[in-house]
C-alpha cells in the first residue's frame, strides 16, 4: 500500500508546497518592502531592507488618516455584526420553532436574498440615503451591512435552532416563562457554538467590505480601512514605501484574527455549501 503511493505522495507534496510558497512569498515580500524607503523598493525590488526603516508606517498612518479609518472599521464591524447576529437568531427562532404558515414564505424570501448582490441595490440605496439624510453617516453604512448579512445568517441560525430539541423550551413555557425568556435564557446559551461561527464569519465580511462605503460615504471621517488603503493607489501618494506600510497595516491584524479563529471561519464557509 505505502509503496504504491510513493510517486503520488511526492507529487502531492510538490503541489502543496507550490501553493504554500505562492501564498507566503508575496506576503513576505510585502512585509519586507514596507521597511524599505521608496528609492530602494524601485531600484532593488528583491533586496532585503538595509535597516528596519519604520518611517513608512508612521507617515502612512498619519498622512493616510489610517487611525480614523481603523476606528470606523472597528465600529462598523462590531456594531453591524452584533445586530446582524442578534436579529438573525431571533428570526431563526421564529422560523424554526413557531408553527405558522408564513414562516415558509419568509424563509424563501431570505433564501432568494442570497442571490441579490449589493450592485443591484446600490443606485436606489444611494438615492434613498441621500433623501433621508443618512448618506455619509455611520448609520447609513451600518444599516445596509446588517441587511446584507441577514440572509445567510438567518439560514445558519434557522438550521441550527431546528436541531435543538423542543422539550427544553416546552417545559419552560409550561412553567410560565414567556417566549422572550425562553429566547434569552435557554436558546442563546444553547446556541453559543453557532453564534460564534456567525459572529466571526460576519465580522470578517464587514471588515473587508468595500463598495458600500465607497459609494455611500465621501467624508474621510466616516470611511473605513479598505477604502482608505485604496486611496494609496494612484493619486494620493506615489511613495511605494507608504503604500506597502498601509498594506501591512491592513493585513497583519487580519492574519492574527485568522490564526486565532481559523476553524470558525472554515465552518462558516463550509456550512454555506452543506445547504441541500
Amino acid at each position: 500500500m505505502r509503496k504504491r503511493l510513493t510517486l503520488a505522495s511526492v507529487l502531492s507534496s510538490v503541489l502543496m508546497i507550490a501553493f504554500t510558497l505562492l501564498t507566503i512569498i508575496p506576503l513576505a515580500w510585502m512585509i519586507l518592502s514596507a521597511f524599505k524607503p521608496h528609492a530602494l523598493i524601485v531600484r532593488y525590488p528583491l533586496a532585503l531592507p538595509l535597516s528596519w526603516y519604520v518611517d513608512n508606517f508612521v507617515l502612512s498612518w498619519t498622512q493616510g488618516h489610517l487611525g480614523i479609518y481603523f476606528i470606523n472599521s472597528t465600529i462598523y464591524s462590531f456594531v453591524a455584526t452584533l445586530l446582524t447576529v442578534f436579529f438573525a437568531l431571533s428570526s431563526g427562532y421564529a422560523l424554526s420553532k413557531f408553527p405558522y404558515k408564513s414562516s415558509r414564505v419568509i424563509s424563501l424570501i431570505y433564501t432568494l436574498g442570497l442571490l441579490i448582490t449589493v450592485h443591484s441595490v446600490i443606485v436606489p440605496l444611494f438615492i434613498m440615503e441621500t433623501k433621508l439624510g443618512i448618506s455619509n453617516t455611520r448609520l447609513g453604512v451600518i444599516l445596509p451591512y446588517i441587511a446584507f448579512g441577514l440572509p445567510f445568517q438567518v439560514f445558519l441560525a434557522t438550521t441550527y435552532i431546528k436541531g435543538i430539541p423542543d422539550a427544553m423550551q416546552e417545559s419552560a413555557i409550561i412553567d410560565g416563562a414567556t417566549f422572550f425568556q425562553v429566547f434569552f435564557r435557554i436558546l442563546i446559551p444553547v446556541a453559543t457554538p453557532i453564534i460564534s461561527t456567525m459572529f466571526i464569519y460576519t465580522f470578517l465580511g464587514n471588515w473587508n467590505e468595500f463598495i458600500l462605503v465607497l459609494t455611500l460615504t465621501s467624508d474621510l471621517t466616516v470611511r473605513s480601512l479598505p477604502v482608505g488603503i485604496n486611496s494609496f493607489a494612484g493619486g494620493m501618494s506615489r511613495d511605494y514605501g507608504l503604500q506597502f506600510a498601509a498594506l501591512v497595516i491592513g493585513t497583519v491584524p487580519m492574519i492574527i484574527f485568522y490564526l486565532v479563529f481559523k476553524d470558525k471561519i472554515a465552518q462558516g464557509f463550509a456550512a454555506g455549501a452543506l445547504k441541500e
Binding site: S90, A147, L259
Partner: protein, 295 residues
C-alpha cells in the same frame, strides 16, 4: 391576552427587526432599481419613462460586451480553475497523501481573510515594472533591461486579475470540499479498498458521485461571486487600460457615479441579476442531469 395570541405576537416580534431592514434595504430597492432601469433618470427632476431604451443601448455597447466577456472569463476561471484545484487539494488532504496537512491547509486558506483591496494593491505591485515578477525574470535570464508593463497591455491586462482570483479563492473551495469529504462514511471506501478498487476507481465511482451536490452548490457560489467581482478589479486596474479589464459591475459603477446616469446604471445592475439567475438555472439543469446519470 390569551396564550395563543401571546405566541403569535412573540413570533412577529422576533421576525420584525430583521424583516423590516431586509424589506427596506433590499426588497424595496430592487423593485426601485427595476423601475429606474426603464427611465432616463439623472439624479434630479422626475424620472422620464423611456421603456427598454437603456437595455438596448447597453447590449449594443462594445464596452459592455467586453465587460460581459471578462465576467464570463471570471466565471470560467472559478468553475474550471478554483473548484477543480480546490477539490484536488482537499482530496489530497483528506486521503492524507501529504504530511503536515494542517499546516498546508492553514496557509492555503489564508488569503480569504485579506481584504480584496489589499490583495489588489499587493499584486499590482508584484506585477508592476518595478515589481517582484519583473525582477525575478531579470535575475533568471540575466537581461537587466527586461521589462513588461502588463497592466498597460489591452489584451494581457486581464491575465493577472484571473491569476489573483485563483490565488484568493482556491483555498476557500479546498476548505468547503474538505469539510464535505470528512462527512462521507469511511466504510464505503474501506469496502471498496478490500474489493481491490484502485485510487482512480474509488475517485470516479464513489467520491465524485457523492460530491455532485456539493460541486453544484460551490458552482452557484462561484457564479454569483464572479458576477459580483468588483473590489479586486476596481482597486487593481480600475477597469483600464481603456475599459479593457472592466466587468459589468464596474461598467455600472462608472456610468452611475461618474456620469450620473442612474437609469442606465440600474439597467446594467438588472442585467447582472438576470445573468446570475440564468447561469444558476442552467447549472441546476446540468447538475440534475449528472445526478440522474450517477443513480
Amino acid at each position: 391576552m390569551t396564550f395563543s395570541q401571546q405566541k403569535r405576537m412573540s413570533y412577529y416580534a422576533f421576525l420584525a427587526p430583521g424583516l423590516l431592514l431586509f424589506a427596506s434595504i433590499i426588497i424595496f430597492p430592487v423593485a426601485y432599481s427595476l423601475t429606474l432601469s426603464f427611465t432616463s433618470f439623472g439624479g434630479y427632476g422626475t424620472p422620464k419613462f423611456i421603456g427598454l431604451e437603456n437595455y438596448a443601448k447597453i447590449i449594443s455597447d462594445d464596452v459592455f460586451l467586453h465587460s460581459l466577456r471578462n465576467n464570463l472569463l471570471i466565471v470560467a476561471i472559478s468553475v474550471f480553475g478554483q473548484i477543480p484545484l480546490g477539490f484536488l487539494l482537499a482530496y489530497l488532504l483528506h486521503r492524507k497523501m501529504v504530511r503536515n496537512g494542517d499546516f498546508y491547509q492553514t496557509i492555503i486558506f489564508l488569503p480569504i481573510t485579506i481584504s480584496p483591496v489589499v490583495v489588489a494593491l499587493l499584486w499590482n505591485q508584484i506585477f508592476s515594472s518595478s515589481g517582484m515578477v519583473v525582477a525575478l525574470i531579470r535575475r533568471l535570464t540575466g537581461e537587466s533591461q527586461y521589462v513588461i508593463r502588463i497592466f498597460e497591455d489591452k489584451q494581457l491586462a486581464i491575465l493577472p486579475i484571473l491569476f489573483v482570483l485563483l490565488w484568493m479563492h482556491t483555498g476557500t473551495y479546498m476548505i468547503i470540499f474538505y469539510a464535505n469529504l470528512q462527512k462521507m462514511t469511511p466504510s464505503l471506501l474501506e469496502a471498496a479498498q478490500i474489493d481491490g478498487a484502485n485510487e482512480s476507481q474509488m475517485m470516479m465511482r464513489i467520491i465524485l458521485p457523492s460530491m455532485v451536490g456539493t460541486i453544484a452548490t460551490t458552482a452557484i457560489f462561484a457564479i454569483s461571486g464572479s458576477l459580483k467581482a468588483f473590489d479586486l478589479i476596481y482597486a487593481m486596474t480600475g477597469g483600464g487600460p481603456a475599459h479593457f479589464t472592466e466587468v459589468i459591475a464596474i461598467y455600472m459603477y462608472i456610468n452611475t457615479f461618474k456620469y450620473y446616469k442612474y437609469g442606465f446604471g440600474s439597467a446594467a445592475s438588472m442585467i447582472i441579476v438576470l445573468l446570475a439567475v440564468g447561469l444558476i438555472l442552467l447549472l441546476q439543469y446540468i447538475s440534475r442531469k449528472f445526478e440522474r446519470r450517477f443513480e
